[in-house]
């Protein structure tokens, strides 16, 4: 069965019209997001996260590589049918009401009038805006706009939800509310792809993460593995497959980092044994250190190492 999202060597180069200067916003990203996953995309400002999302949604055209959504080429308009998207810094037309906005985007998603009329009150209630449906969006607060934006993304019952900073400007209670909605969707099998700066939120919600930096995947793995408490981290390259399997079995967690494999061992003895095995096989050890335990630490370490 195909992945919800799969990219292979995705590249996006922006060229200045006048100077010809190139910016490699996305530089060969290969990523797989399984169906039903809760996936967090992290990275510092300007890392290429939003460009990557725009390539998935065909808002921008790739310079190289390919992206598929549920096995379909992302450039095909039909590939976007199962996607619900909430952009960062969205600008919903202020002349619309919450109701008319949902109706408009629902129609663009191919929903007929009857389905839209049934779905809109349901969704407004879900996001706690049932009393505001007929008010103009110009009167909504930032948090309310985020919630109605989420309702918009859910309008056609998507099987892949792409959310760019979904809790931006939302108060703590609203954030909790959004998280609860996302948990329900996760249980229903909806794939959730979260692009966020809020590491704590990603740590709370996502099972898998990728950190991208300077347009490349700098770190990828399961949140529980990457934040598996204190231990000893060994990053090595050119590991024979047999040895890698052996070390995987012993390690608390394993992640891919810059094309290398990173193992996390619970004790100094285990780490030393691993070093002995790796050296015996003439593997290059790139780094070795005691680990921290929060996603923020992992993030900072990853970005600083680049």
């Amino acid at each position: 069965m195909s992945c919800a999202i799969e990219t292979e060597g995705l590249i996006k180069i922006f060229r200045s019209r006048w100077s010809g200067k190139e910016v490699r916003a996305v530089d060969g990203i290969s990523l797989r997001v399984e169906r039903g996953a809760t996936f967090g995309l992290l990275g510092p400002n300007g890392a290429g996260k939003t460009t990557f999302v725009k390539l998935l949604l065909s808002c921008a055209h790739p310079t190289g590589g390919r992206a598929t959504i549920f096995g379909r080429d992302a450039r095909d308009a039909e590939a976007r049918r199962p996607i619900g998207y909430l952009p960062e810094n969205h600008r919903f037309p202020t002349y619309m009401t919450g109701y008319s906005m949902l109706d408009f985007y629902g129609a663009l998603s191919g929903m007929d009038a009857v389905s839209r009329q049934r779905r809109i009150p349901e969704l407004l209630k879900t996001v706690g805006l049932d009393d505001w449906g007929h008010s103009r969006l110009g009167k909504y607060s930032k948090g309310m706009l985020q919630r109605v934006g989420l309702a918009q993304a859910l309008m056609h019952e998507p099987s892949l939800l792409v959310l760019d900073e979904p809790t931006d400007g939302v108060d703590p209670i609203g954030r909790r509310h959004i998280r609860d909605i996302l948990h329900v969707l996760e249980q229903q099998g909806v794939t959730i792809f979260l692009n966020s700066h809020l590491l704590g939120e990603v740590e709370l919600f996502c099972r898998d993460v990728a950190i991208i930096h300077r347009g490349k995947v700098a770190l990828e793995g399961k949140v529980k593995d990457l934040t598996a408490g204190s231990g000893y981290r060994i990053e090595a390259e050119r590991i024979p497959e047999r040895l890698e399997q052996e070390l995987r079995a012993k390690a608390m967690a394993v992640a891919q980092r810059n094309g290398n494999v990173e193992f996390l061992f619970g004790s100094r003895e285990e780490a030393n044994q691993a070093v002995d095995l790796l050296r015996a096989e003439h593997c290059e050890i790139e780094a070795m250190a005691r680990t921290n335990s929060t996603l923020e630490d992992v993030f900072v370490r990853t970005v600083n190492e680049q």
Binding site: L57, C59, A60, H61, F104, Y105, A107, L108, S109, G110
Partner: protein, 278 residues
């Protein structure tokens, strides 16, 4: 055209109307048209009370049957000319923002994320914009035509055809707005370039005179190329006036060459939109 295409096109057109309502464009035009209609209703009402079967009084002047027909045609002509010139400028000025507004960051991404082809999004918006103006033009022209016809018994189809031609010219000029909006995302630049095309049209319409005055061959060729390439707003205005006055259309070249220009602009706009990164 399948149901889904109609559903999406309908949504895009409704959204354009909604935005035109919110920007008061639609209501502004409707208010002006209604005021003009009421003006004619009022004047004709007084004259009918004062007039006999064979005569009608308009603007306080009593005319015989033959004169009435001429007067109705002239009044139709005046309204058609007003719509074609001042109305066209106003329509372009007022609605030029309806297409560029779609390209605002934060709005375009959401539209592009929907399972709709890019050309469909742009065409839907374009059709919506044309319909906003067409609704107002047809409302005014049809109402005036009915009022005059009912009061005077003069029913000339030329006036109705002239309104179709006015909408046609607006639709062509709007393709320029659309292309400029896609390339530069600016309503101001789009308006300026479109006004430029409208203003240069009467000069280019004097192409034969200009060619006699120009000394170099390349400048004569330039005038010729510009005349045939750009929409013939002035020539089509003359055709519109001829339609109202009941004159036969002698030359359809301004019509089809302008249509070709519109098609070229539309295709280029759609192509540029399909290739852009947002």
């Amino acid at each position: 055209m399948n149901n889904r295409t109609l559903l999406v096109t309908g949504a895009l057109v409704r959204d354009t109307f909604r935005e035109a309502f919110a920007r008061k464009i639609f209501w502004g035009f409707l208010g002006c048209s209604t005021a003009l209609i009421l003006f004619f209703v009022f004047i004709l009402k007084i004259d009918v009370v004062q007039g006999a079967m064979a005569t009608v009084s308009l603007f306080g002047n009593t005319r015989q049957g033959g004169d009435v027909q001429r007067l109705v045609r002239q009044t139709h002509g005046a309204i058609a000319a007003f719509l074609y010139t001042a109305g066209m400028f106003l329509a372009i000025f007022a609605s030029a923002g309806l297409i560029p507004s779609v390209f605002e960051p934060g709005r375009i991404e959401l539209l592009l994320s929907k399972p709709v082809a890019r050309h469909h999004i742009l065409l839907g918006r374009y059709i919506g914009n044309v319909l906003v103006i067409a609704a107002n033009v047809f409302y005014l022209v049809l109402a005036v035509w009915l009022i005059f016809g009912w009061k005077t018994g003069v029913w000339t189809a030329g006036f109705l055809w002239s309104s179709v031609l006015t909408v046609f010219v607006f639709a062509i000029l709007l393709t320029v707005v659309m292309l400029v909006a896609v390339l530069w995302e600016s309503a101001v630049v789009a308006t300026m370039i479109t006004f430029g095309i409208m203003l240069i049209s009467p000069i280019l319409a004097q192409q034969r005179v200009l060619e006699r005055l120009l000394t170099s061959e390349w400048s004569r060729n330039l005038v010729r190329v510009l005349y045939y390439a750009l929409p013939k707003v002035f020539d089509l205005g003359r055709i519109s006036r001829g339609l109202v006055l009941g004159d036969p259309v002698g030359d359809w070249m301004p019509f089809w060459s302008s249509a070709l220009f519109g098609l070229a602009m539309l295709s280029t706009g759609l192509y540029a939109f399909a290739r852009r990164n947002y």
